[in-house]
Symmetry: C2
Subunit: 215 residues, 2 copies
Amino acid sequence: MPVAAAAPLPTKRRQASEARRRAILDAAFEIFIAEGFKAARLDDIAKRAGVAKGTLYLFSRDKEDLFELVALDMVAPVLERLTLLAQQTDLPFAALLTGMFSLFEREVLATKRREIFRLIIAEGARFPTIAKFYHREVISRGLALIGGAAGRAHARGEISSDALARYPQLLFGPLLISVVWRSLFEPYQPLDISGMLAAHRDMLLGPAAAKAREP
Amino acid sequence: MPVAAAAPLPTKRRQASEARRRAILDAAFEIFIAEGFKAARLDDIAKRAGVAKGTLYLFSRDKEDLFELVALDMVAPVLERLTLLAQQTDLPFAALLTGMFSLFEREVLATKRREIFRLIIAEGARFPTIAKFYHREVISRGLALIGGAAGRAHARGEISSDALARYPQLLFGPLLISVVWRSLFEPYQPLDISGMLAAHRDMLLGPAAAKAREP
DNA sequence: ATATATTGACTGACCAGCCAGTCAATAATT
DNA sequence: AATTATTGACTGGCTGGTCAGTCAATATAT
């Protein structure tokens, strides 16, 4: 009995097609980031992807559809990691924070992926589909993860306040700040983002925990 | 010698012109907010302002110039208030926070002005002029105000941590969050913004101050 | 040889900016 | 005070360029 008979083996064509798909998504991401939705030109995306304009229409219905594909494609890896983190329900709260911040710094802030949030904020109002998707798949998951963990940590006495359990959004403020700062204000006033995130972490954990950081 | 010969008194013409200027700026704000820079049509702006398209060019050099005028015009009143707050250097820190948050809730979050930040984030990367202006006139002032006050409060023992003095950006995270939430995610998950800001304030002041809130 | 994937010139809608013309408000003249 | 001349703010139809989307022709794989 063949192991994977259902899925047809990749032929030369399929492989080439998949490569083109990636090239197109990457190119589209770059151009959308640089120009915004309306100002982005499909000619430029095609050129950058090394493909004719018509080819774009083999992968997406129209410009809007392409935009959604890009926005959705780019969070996939982060989503995966976030899910893994969420499964570790009995992690000490301090460790969870550290893990999350470091995931953020490595996988979002240090990569071009950091621009996604800017893009969502910029275009989200005009793309309810995207806003809704991001809320459902990323935002609400992140909030639930933090809110739940903070609640448990508060019950165990790890943290003194229940503010984070009630308003998990408070945790994400500085993350948003750091993304925006990088893109807009860094040139005029540099910001030690790692330092800021560490300070934020200490503040969330409360004074006691902050002292414990350096034994 | 005539007292004010240099400045010609406002005639009917000048008054009408000033009224049109306001109408144009307001209309442009609405359209830019709703559509973004590139997608906004000057025809629509003119129509909404009750003015012919050509008239727009009496007040601005081109579309880009108009955008800058709008972005700059809309913060003016907030800037003024912020300056007033900054002059009260010996306010207790808790009072400063309360004042600032309430200014934010009343003058930004509750008005259409709240959309400015979204606009800046959306278009700022393509309008260095705007990003620079906002950094110089709003961001850096707000940060200096908070950073300085937090440093003094820490020295006086009002707050236990010096994190806010070092990273005043931490204060603005939740403000940014609240603006974005309103515009993008409110429909899918309501958020008690006042509650969140109060919790944030307590967290910044530390546990002792939080208890003192209700005597 | 057939089927499928890719191309890129072309079309038509769209829109920023232009500019020749209009007319109410003011100034000059009688 | 009444009449005429001048100004310049305002108008809106037009133009030239731009660009999303199409499709007949071509290239490539099976």
